[in-house]
Amino acid sequence: MDHGKLDLTDVVYDQLLPGARNWSFILRRGFALRLTDTRGGGNCSTLFFNAQEKLERYNMADTLKAQHTAYLTKGHVCYSDMGRILVSIPEDTCGWHDPIGGVSNAAAVRERFGEKRYQEARNAFYRDGRGLFLIEMGKWGLGRRDLVPNINFFSKVAVTEGGEMTYVSDNSPAGSYVDLRAELDTLVVLNTCPHPLDPATEWNPKPIGLTIFRTPPAAEDDVCRISCPENGRGFENTAIYHCQY
């Protein structure tokens, strides 16, 4: 995957986040965040907020209906509730990221994996996606009122004609990556807890690589801009916000 190689001089941050851990960062315009599923089978639950005005945030419904999709991949964008693009997806080797499955909570983790408390297990204790979102969001003054539907990168939930949701294992081979390019200065809040619909009963959360790199703005023929007329208007709206229209 030669096209996946980044020029090291463009890379400003490169870390491996262990499984079932939380992280947040303000991804500024001119930069992209590459998530890498280093081992395969990982999950990265993610929310986006406008860093300047955190009342503006990722909106699942607006993202899905604008692009007539129930999954995310290269060429898609993540819309805020204000008709603007927070991040776009110019590159993706995985092919399907889940925007509908949500996160686990403490009760669900206890039920599936049993109980492992800090008192006995120290830092190997079991975490849950909801809890880690609340911890990381709390660092930015955000809380339960800001807990909106999230994206699960590297996970796939297919829906049958009748509406049944099926978790698809082996969606993401080792080394899969997806690039998230900031179109607004975006607060990224994420955690690496297992997907709530992953049927595995053994606790084995996977690490996710986090690489931030400099990147030029979306060109006129950028795959995200031209993938549908809606996204053309989304980029236009975002440019208006930046007084660049």
Binding site: L55, N59, M60, A61, D62, L64, K65, A66, H68, T69, A70, Y71, Y79, D81, M82, G83, R84, W96, I100, G101, G102, V103, N105, A107, A108, R130, G143, R144, R145, D146, L147, V148, P149, N150, A158, V159, T160, E161, G162, G163, E164, M165, P196, L197, E230, R233, G234, E236, N237
Partner: protein, 223 residues
């Protein structure tokens, strides 16, 4: 999915509350634990965009993702349990003569209309304007921060196995209804959808009737 068609024994004459929301208007109301709310599609194919909050702790609210994750299906019908962001049971759908309600399409907004249809569509009336005004005029200390993914009762938003999502003609008709029992005291925030740009209201927004019954004393059973 076998489309359930579950009728209710409740008689509108016994309802303690009966109000018809005009087309395109909001509705904000509290339903007590044990009470039953019926939403009646008076003229057919009318999307009723609905949010629920724990009346004693509105930071706990209906969660689309927790609800569909727990039931393993993206559509709501009789038997569906509406869960909160804390994983608690808020309401149970006890009757449904429509058979399928949407959890993914969300509410229309001036800004989403701009993206979906044209930048010039911004002045059109929309659901999120309804939500914002209803909350701003209320005694609740709530606002935009409290708007999350809503249920669209009577709305048809199919997802295909290859992941396409579309807004289709409704499957509801005049007289179809959905009924739900509150399992906790809830605030109900509704926008009787004014969208004119897609088939969610058959391009003709119409009134919706809201009825509430007291707790019956015995649990309703689902056929």
């Amino acid at each position: 999915m076998s489309t359930l068609n579950t009728t209710s024994p409740l008689d509108p004459a016994d309802a303690i509350y009966d109000y018809t929301i005009p087309a395109g208007e909001p509705w904000l109301h509290e339903i007590k634990q044990g009470q039953t709310l019926r939403i009646l599609d008076l003229e057919g194919n009318q999307a009723v965009d609905t949010l629920f909050y724990n009346a004693h702790d509105p930071a706990e609210r209906y969660s689309a993702q927790d609800t569909i994750q727990a039931q393993g299906s993206i559509y709501l019908t009789a038997g569906s349990k509406l869960l909160s962001t804390a994983g608690n049971l808020m309401l149970t759908i006890t009757a449904d003569t429509c058979g399928r309600h949407d959890t993914l399409g969300g509410a229309c907004a001036a800004e989403s209309n701009q993206v979906r249809y044209a930048l010039e569509k911004r002045p059109m009336h929309n659901c999120r304007d309804n939500y914002l005004l209803a909350l701003a005029e209320s005694d609740y200390d709530m606002g935009k921060r409290d708007l999350t993914s809503n249920i669209n009762f009577f709305m048809n938003v199919p997802v295909t196995p290859d992941g396409q999502l579309t807004f289709e003609d409704g499957i509801s008709e005049a007289g179809k209804y959905v009924e739900m029992r509150a399992e906790m005291d809830v605030i109900v925030l509704v926008s009787n959808c004014p969208q004119l740009n897609n088939p969610c209201n058959a391009y003709n927004p119409t009134p919706a009737r809201m009825l509430v019954w007291e707790a019956s004393g015995e649990a309703l059973t689902i056929a």
